[in-house]
Subunit: 450 residues, 2 copies
Amino acid sequence: MGLPAGPPRVVVVGGGFGGLQAVKTLRGADADVTLIDRNNYHLFQPLSYQVATGALSPGDIAVPLRRIVRSERHVRVLMGEVTGFDLGARELTMHADVLGGDSMEVPYDFLIVAGGSNYSYFGHDAWRPLALEVKSLDSALEVRGRILQAFEAAELIADPQTRESWLTFVVVGAGPTGVEMAGQIAELARDTLPGEFRDADPRSGRVLLVETADRVLTSFPSSLSRRAGRSLEELGITVLVDHTVVDVQADSVELQARDGTALRIGTHTVVWAAGVTASPLARTLADASGVDVDRAGRLTVEPDLTLSGHPEVIALGDMVRVRDPKSGEAQALPGLAPVAMQEGRYAGEAISRRLADPAASAADPPFRYHDKGTLATIGRGRAVAQIYGLKLSGLVAWVTWLVVHLFYLIGFENRVLVLLQWSYSFFTHGRGTRLITDAAGTRAEAVVGG
Amino acid sequence: MGLPAGPPRVVVVGGGFGGLQAVKTLRGADADVTLIDRNNYHLFQPLSYQVATGALSPGDIAVPLRRIVRSERHVRVLMGEVTGFDLGARELTMHADVLGGDSMEVPYDFLIVAGGSNYSYFGHDAWRPLALEVKSLDSALEVRGRILQAFEAAELIADPQTRESWLTFVVVGAGPTGVEMAGQIAELARDTLPGEFRDADPRSGRVLLVETADRVLTSFPSSLSRRAGRSLEELGITVLVDHTVVDVQADSVELQARDGTALRIGTHTVVWAAGVTASPLARTLADASGVDVDRAGRLTVEPDLTLSGHPEVIALGDMVRVRDPKSGEAQALPGLAPVAMQEGRYAGEAISRRLADPAASAADPPFRYHDKGTLATIGRGRAVAQIYGLKLSGLVAWVTWLVVHLFYLIGFENRVLVLLQWSYSFFTHGRGTRLITDAAGTRAEAVVGG
């Protein structure tokens, strides 16, 4: 492969579950590893909705990347945004604000790109600034501020209809994140806030969960979907399956039922957790290599996760579809942390092998996802789980969820503190970090004033 | 006093130490109490510098105001910004973004204004957007992001001089906050970050503490100032007493020594902790009443903290000077939490007394501050304290500081968690929340790009 004099350079783009796992797997490799991320932290993204509702602090679910790889002297972390790839020259372009407009080129011998995905507005990009998300830590903090501000607004506003619209929360998309968000907002309104307001009763708040499909949690067996639906209703959530969002305004959303009925709902708080659109890095890589992307912007990679014609480039996670070794058809794996982590480990092992024996590079067996199960939590003591084919619900599923999530809080030395925080919140219905901080304010003003 | 039919209305502006203490003292009073604040939380401000350096999370030192007064059914909390007073009509004007440009009028029978203060740029308001502060929670989060970004920048930039300027931190003002900030930044660079960077060595970072006076901590006896100065130097901090800031730019500051020598220092991170300028509410009240303000914008109040000619209006805390009952001269008390808290308690008691017996209103004894002592911490195990005249330094002062601060974390049910967090950080040199979040990014771009 014509490696240069120093150790081979492996560059990993993205410090999410996939990228970080690749870096960890390269621990023993004789290589210079560079990890590039826009943020200085790894986010335990499955719990970002807990930050969005004040149950956990950002520091509980985000840990500095530098701290994670601190003891691995062959790993370097760069904070910046990757903007382009030159696959021929084997280098990428990175932008960082501190470079004052300049970019820097980062050369590689092996490249792993794990850029993740965003939610999709299905072509309605005008809705994006009006809706809220819990994908990133910053957006989760914004959601936290906006939800709390809605209750503050309701307390100030005397007009009953306007007040009602401030106390109405619409969650779009009934996948695990949407279900979790709806559950958390309902618990906030029902258990945490009552008693703290004098004019507006948080208990009169409404949470609507909107889903285009005919059931919640479509990735689960339908019996668990039914149980989850019941749990949501027990929490007072209005579950609107067979409904599609057709318009989003600053103070309302319009829904359309499958039978064509239209429904306009006054609300200032729309949390979006639907659809998938791959990181723009997928298209950047596609343009650089001539490989195609699908409608969700996902890059097609080979069965061994490499880019066609570029065995030195691996792409993984939510931003790719993997070609089936037999049929040759590209297939999207579920957008779950375990998928990304297994792919990251596979990528790290493949590169380690090739570094040890450059001649063996074509011999990798195709990547295969081992599905150990999926979990979704709805609220305190309420969850559904499918683990090795076993279906669980209720408290036992919730405890499973808790154990699995604590176990997987990778690199989190403060795991015990998080557990204490959770136990405390569980028994007191408290939410320690119900703070409206700046990120929220700025955006809220823009939306409310506009 | 011509009270209306319902219970008398007491309005408290500001949920800091003074305002909150007044509300708590009014617990038993037969009155409708309204607490107004721009933020939805009370901030334990003496520890905001710990958030600014990643040692504590915002949720550790800020607690929702509604939670604090939850069980007091006669207290109502409104989130908004007070913009004017009509002392004749006995009402104030409040603005909240959610009111969509409209304001609301809040009537009162008794008014307590505790708006606090800001740092002063001594007429150089152009420096304000370039410098950082730890006065508010939002600004502390911004400082956290900016300090961490400076180390990230140093890792990316190859030019030695530019890198050095990113690793240079200038703290202006050697009062308790300045001393604490300098100590924390030095510990971050010296103990927490080394080992996490590959190109830039955080240990080569410089912390400069600039003070116009001839010693640090001028409010302490000079023997303690000397000890604090030695502790700062042991931490590697360059203490520049007898130096004044004469210019602040995005990438440098200029200092002038007392002998006239000028000194320009390359830096992107200037933390400002000098001077005092009262909350604009002081001038608003002064304009409404014809009372004067001093050069720092502080309102002069009577010995019983009332506004001259308006026994129903009390102002307190950093935004006032109190008239001496004998000499009649106005005097500024130290800008410390205990002063504000004692004034808040005094105000609450005075109003409770007048509510119980309206005829007794003129009989209040003048307010007197009981100085139990002052504390300042410099770093792990390093502090100075003067308590009831007793001078302490080193570990014993630091433990005293720790105990006092934990004891006074009012309303913080998670006090034990904070203690655990601290103990953990103390033994590991760790800082759990070294996260660069949005507020930081936005501002940093503006400054760096400009």
